[in-house]
């Protein structure tokens, strides 16, 4: 097992290197004079010379790449031009929103999608199956931004002043604050990396409010994330429901299930013990794959619901030619994605011993 994990880790290294390379190239091929594109027309030649030296742009490209990798090795992602702040600081601020949104959406997709798929498979060709599959098909086919706009309208305007009303934007209501953990725990003197890490955790409002017992703030933060999470989670939900259905059907068609039935096991037991468990494999794989989709969808969802997460920041950076941010965020998002898939792969290996031997 450990050997399997090590092997997977080893495979990841060239991938990470490739990601670094691609982010480097992407940022370099964005058209325009990098200095004036970034610092604006008013930048003097003096300023531009300093800029060019600072970013090593006077060096040949291979040298630049080495410098870039060197900076990365020191944990330096550079300074955002638009915000005049380190990209790492932007990450500490903005990534938590995206992580929370993504996880909540995924949770929603799994909690609703898997049962729907199971029901659909067990009652194949029943009205419930047809209904679920119609829903699933429309779900995967509807653009996130259309669904988001509709949800915002229904829950914020139509249901206003009812108990079902939900806020259409932002992360917290006015007047509500999630006190940072550094303050709660009296660690305000903390500096550097530990402090950044603590602030990052504090940015995960649902988590930090929970562990520090800020209940009303927690509830408020949750209410703000419900609509975005539903909008974002619907496509994965539909995909998970479909995969669950088809993989369960596949498993139920296999000999050992027939044997189990022949042994006289009750249908529920057959489905749960023999069917669902083995159908889990493709479901886990698909859930891992959904993460990329979720991170993509986060760009749109954050736009529609006015959440300033990594996706939205990334988009702003691309359109604003803030290429230091483009490099930094792409890299971090890609690394997260690779890491999650690594975990999924390992999980896969745990669930299915055959995989380990491949």
């Amino acid at each position: 097992m450990i050997q399997f994990i090590l092997r997977r880790l080893l495979v990841t290294i060239p991938v990470l290197f490739g990601i670094v390379f691609i982010t480097f190239v992407l940022a370099r091929i964005i058209p325009g004079d990098p200095c004036r594109a970034v610092l604006g027309e008013r930048a003097t030649d003096e300023v531009c010379d300093a800029f060019i030296v600072r970013y090593g742009l006077d060096q040949p490209l291979p040298t630049q790449f080495v410098i870039y990798v060197g900076q990365l090795a020191q944990g330096d992602l550079g300074d955002s031009i638009k915000y005049s702040r380190p990209v790492t600081a932007l990450l500490v601020e903005r990534l938590p929103t995206t992580i929370e949104l993504t996880l909540l959406a995924l949770t929603f997709a799994i909690l609703v999608g898997v049962p729907l798929g199971l029901i659909s498979a067990v009652r194949r060709n029943s009205p419930a199956d047809a209904g679920t599959m119609i829903f699933a098909n429309i779900g995967v086919s509807m653009p996130v931004f259309v669904l988001g706009l509709l949800l915002a309208y229904i829950f914020a305007i139509t249901l206003k002043d009812t108990p079902f009303a939900l806020p259409p934007s932002g992360r917290l209501s006015s007047g509500v604050t999630v006190t940072p953990l550094a303050v709660v725990w009296g660690l305000e003197d903390l500096q550097g990396l530990p402090r950044a890490f603590l602030d990052f955790i504090s940015g995960l409002y649902l988590f930090s409010a929970l562990i520090s017992g800020q209940w009303s703030a927690w509830a408020d933060a949750l209410r703000h994330l419900i609509l975005p999470a539903i909008a974002l989670g619907t496509i994965p939900l539909a995909i998970i429901a479909r995969i669950t259905r088809s993989s369960l059907l596949e498993v139920l068609g296999q000999d050992y299930v027939r044997t189990a039935r022949a042994k006289g096991l009750r249908e529920n037991a057959v489905i749960l013990r023999h069917g669902a468990r083995n159908a889990l494999l493709p479901i886990v794989t698909v859930i891992g794959l959904q993460l990329g989709l979720l991170l993509s969808g986060a760009v749109l969802t954050e736009t529609v619901f006015n959440l300033t997460g990594a996706g939205r920041t990334m988009f702003d950076a691309i359109t604003g030619r803030d290429y230091v941010v483009i490099q930094g965020l792409t890299l971090v998002i890609a690394v997260i994605y690779v890491t999650v898939n690594l975990v999924v792969d390992v999980l896969y290996g745990v669930l299915d011993p055959r995989v380990r031997l491949q």
Partner: protein
């Protein structure tokens, strides 16, 4: 969106001397799938609309009707005379947009953007992906390693983000959007083909061909590749749906040219009017949903039809 390899024993089991029957059988089993039939019907309608757009559209999609048509209103609600809309108001099946243009005609012409780009992007991705996957799977070893790690790198980026970055780098045009969408989906096909090739490679009949002295190229194209066709068709069909969604998303977020009658950019331009004139957003929104739905249903149906393991 499954990457689980389908080994598809169907093709090899059938006597290749009677291809007509094979196709008839396949077609028959497809037509037995309700979802495939529904998907085909919707798709047929869409293709029909795209081909005959100039005849179906009631107006020039780019024509600003202000000053050209009596009584035309900005962002007018749908007006259909047969359904009781007063005769003194100009007829617009889906109403008009913020520039006094006919929404129905724009949605109709939108099929001419989304369908070809979706098809072309997936076609491109399939060709490149198949090439990479086949080479990697057949040669194995270090070539396989390098190619598949490269694919992993592309897959490591959330596809829409990578597509946005590519479009911005190359410049916003539909051709570049096409390439961006194609590039981000190449790895899916490469992986698919590779796994089909690997599993087919060890089959007895392949070993037999090799023993009979058939060239590597011949073995790959004639003995192995047919096994990969089924999953590619299924995945490609689903992929077109995804591509249509991605085009719309790129346009929505402004990473595509504006002005052309394209569904995503129609929504983007009028997104502030969702509450005052929802028809302008709903019409292209529904068009996108139906198009994607058609490809998804067809893809599902094809999988069910071509993969007998699902038939209890």
């Amino acid at each position: 969106m499954t990457t689980a390899p389908t080994t598809a024993p169907l093709v090899e089991a059938v006597d290749t001397a009677r291809p007509a029957s094979l196709w008839r059988d396949t077609l028959g089993s497809i037509l037995r799938q309700r979802s495939a039939v529904i998907g085909l019907v919707i798709l047929g309608i869409l293709v029909f609309v795209a081909v005959f757009a100039p005849i179906i559209a009631t107006h020039d999609p780019d024509r600003v009707l202000l000053g050209a048509e009596d009584g035309v209103k900005k962002r007018a609600a749908p007006c259909i005379h047969l359904l009781g809309c007063p005769a003194d108001q100009p007829q617009h099946l889906f109403g008009t947009d913020g520039n006094f243009r006919d929404v129905f005609s724009r949605v109709v012409y939108g099929t001419r953007t989304s369908l070809p780009i979706g098809l072309a992007a997936v076609g491109f991705a399939i060709v490149v992906g198949t090439l990479i996957g086949a080479v990697a799977g057949y040669l194995a070893g270090s070539a396989d390693n390098v190619l598949m790690r490269a694919m992993d790198v592309v897959l490591a980026f959330p596809s829409l983000l990578l597509a946005i970055a590519i479009v911005i780098s190359l410049g916003t045009s539909y051709i570049n959007a096409l390439f961006a969408i194609a590039i981000v989906s190449v790895p899916i096909y490469a992986r698919l083909v590779r796994s089909s090739v690997i599993s087919a490679k060890e089959n007895d009949y392949v070993t037999a061909s090799r023993a009979l002295g058939e060239s590597g190229y011949g073995i790959l194209t004639r003995r192995i590749m047919p096994n990969a066709i089924t999953p590619i068709i299924v995945q490609g069909t689903l992929g077109i749906g995804t591509a249509v969604l991605e085009i719309a998303a790129l346009a929505f977020i402004g990473a595509a040219p504006i002005g052309a009658p394209e569904w995503g950019s129609m929504i983007a331009l009028e997104r502030n009017q969702l509450f005052t004139a929802p028809h302008i957003i709903l019409a292209p929104g529904i068009a996108i949903t139906f198009t994607v739905l058609a490809f998804n249903l067809l893809g599902d149906g094809l999988r069910d039809a071509l993969d007998p393991r699902l038939n209890r």
